[in-house]
């Protein structure tokens, strides 16, 4: 196992200070290793995640070579030649487990933002105290965007949140963590070959969730109540002005409708499986409140906004992969983790084999199946 830095490197270096896991502690489990602390319904801080993964590496006696950066993987006669900062390795199979979030993505028009405005991505952001005083424009309303908008607002700054398509979820539903429902009702186990629109499922932004001791919901209504101003998707910069989409109302409708449909699925499951008695009665949440009139432009040079935080998603970095298996959008071409080059595999990508593929506990089933394929490949290759 090659690790460019230390075990749990991205959890150590590429996360903001206040972040906690979105999954409750009881759900954080790896083969033979699970949470044993006093708060199964809580959410791990980054320090706790690092400890958890370090402990797993020790328990599993994983042969990790830390501080080993991979600079190239290319095909060799019967396998691959891997060039690393610690020398070359020849191997017959390679499993890519470098994740889908190696680089923050930022729209091209970021170049047109006046230099007087500080721009940050989640990789550069640590806490509100490091930002200039004054207003902040947070772009993107996935888990990252809503969490940063909330903590920046709590720091006393005026915050504007630019909202495109998003996934709305309550933290608790009928008294249980919404991720308990995802797990128990079987939605997370839906396989990649059963999902209606796999491309869409793989591109879905992370749900509007936050892990806090209060187990509170952090949807757009919660942000509005805190005084965060909502504007539409940021579409362009023209004459030093940010132009936002006038379609805000519809992205609210889409998210509200999808959430309601998901809650219906949970209710149907509970009824069908006789689980109604152990959970609270069904509930429905108020539709997302539409602002009286959302502004569709903002003068970036006026000083109203001093900082922009781009929470506009991440992309994988395959710059080191010298095998032609990356599509025109920079995504790995694979079928359930079996990459389109013999002996090359992937793990830990969105909906790799199941909806839960990118969650800590979700990789176990995927890994079993991918490694099955890998061992058959090695056996057949002899």
């Amino acid at each position: 196992m090659l690790e460019r830095g230390e075990v749990a490197n991205s959890w150590r270096r590429e996360r903001w200070d206040s972040l906690r896991l979105l999954t409750p502690n009881w759900q954080s489990r790896l083969p033979g290793h699970h949470y044993e602390g006093p708060d199964p319904d809580g959410y791990m801080t980054m320090g706790e995640v690092v400890e958890f993964i370090e402990r797993f590496a020790a328990v599993a006696r994983a042969p990790v070579r830390t501080g080993t950066n991979v600079t190239s993987v290319r095909r060799a006669d019967d396998g691959y030649r891997v060039t690393t900062s610690g020398g070359e390795i020849h191997c017959r199979a390679v499993v890519i487990a470098s994740g889908a979030c190696n680089q923050p993505t930022v729209p091209r028009f970021a170049d047109a933002v006046p230099a007087s405005v500080t721009q940050l991505t989640p990789f550069g952001y640590r806490s509100p105290s490091e930002l200039p005083d004054g207003g902040v424009l947070v772009v993107g309303a996935s888990a990252t965007g809503v969490q940063l908008a909330a903590e920046l607002r709590r720091s006393g700054r005026p915050v504007i949140l630019s909202v495109g398509e998003h996934v709305r979820l309550p933290r608790l539903y009928r008294g249980r963590d919404v991720l308990w429902w995802m797990d128990a009702s079987g939605i997370w186990d839906q396989r990649h070959d059963e999902v209606d629109d796999l491309t869409r499922a793989r591109r879905l932004p992370s749900p509007q969730l936050v892990g806090t001791p209060e187990r509170g919901t952090l949807d757009l209504n919660a942000l509005t109540a805190m005084g965060v101003e909502l504007v539409g998707r940021w579409a362009a910069v023209r004459d030093g002005k940010a132009l936002f989409s006038g379609g805000l109302r519809n992205v609210f409708s889409l998210a509200d409708l999808k959430m309601r449909r998901l809650l219906d699925t949970f209710d149907d499951w509970a009824k069908e499986h006789g689980r109604d008695a152990e959970v609270d009665p069904p509930e429905r949440f108020a539709p997302t409140h539409v602002p009286e009139s959302a502004r569709w432009q903002l003068d970036l040079a006026s000083g109203e906004i001093r900082t922009i935080v781009w929470a506009t998603g991440y992309r994988p970095d395959y710059g080191w992969l010298d095998v032609p298996v990356v599509d025109e959008k920079g995504r790995l071409r694979h079928e359930g983790g079996v990459v389109d080059s013999p002996g090359l595999y992937a793990l830990g990508l969105p909906v790799l084999r199941r909806r839960k593929s990118t969650f800590i506990h979700g990789i176990e089933d995927d890994a079993g199946e991918v490694i099955d394929h890998l061992t058959r490949h090695l056996a057949g290759n002899r």
Partner: protein
Amino acid sequence: MTTIDNGVNVQALLDAREVLKGAPEAAQFTWRASSKWENGVHSTTKIQNFFGLGQEQSHKSETVFTADHPEVFAAEDNGITPIEYLLVGLASCLTAGVASVAQNRGIQLRSVESTVEGNHDIRGILGADSDVRNGFNDIKVTFTIDADASQEDIEALVAQSQKRSAVFDALTNPTNVTVEVA
């Protein structure tokens, strides 16, 4: 499942989507209109030809649109106001979307009606107040749909129609417009 028919050939659209995924150049269309000044603020615009799927295409016949301004604008009112054509475009695009999405989702439509209202402060175009914009301040579309579906499914149809609407996008998002003198 009983066969539902809203008159939309969804299969052809789904097939086209698959083909064009691998052929982005064929997906490049250019829509064209030619306009001619008549007199006053009255003009005539004709549409027949367009480009797409890699070649010149043509509507079955030419359509002629007359635009003018109403008498309260001291004009002759030979036709609708140009900004009203945006309402025509929006309503027809969203309606087409509702029918297509309904067909794709197996929902039989019985009637789809909508009203579109665009609020417009004309002090902008008159130059009476430079803080007032020229275009619509806001637009409201109200659909009344009779279909074999729940209220929630109907709302989802309308939401998905907006999500995939060319005119909704063109109105809600900025577009680069170049106007030249030949």
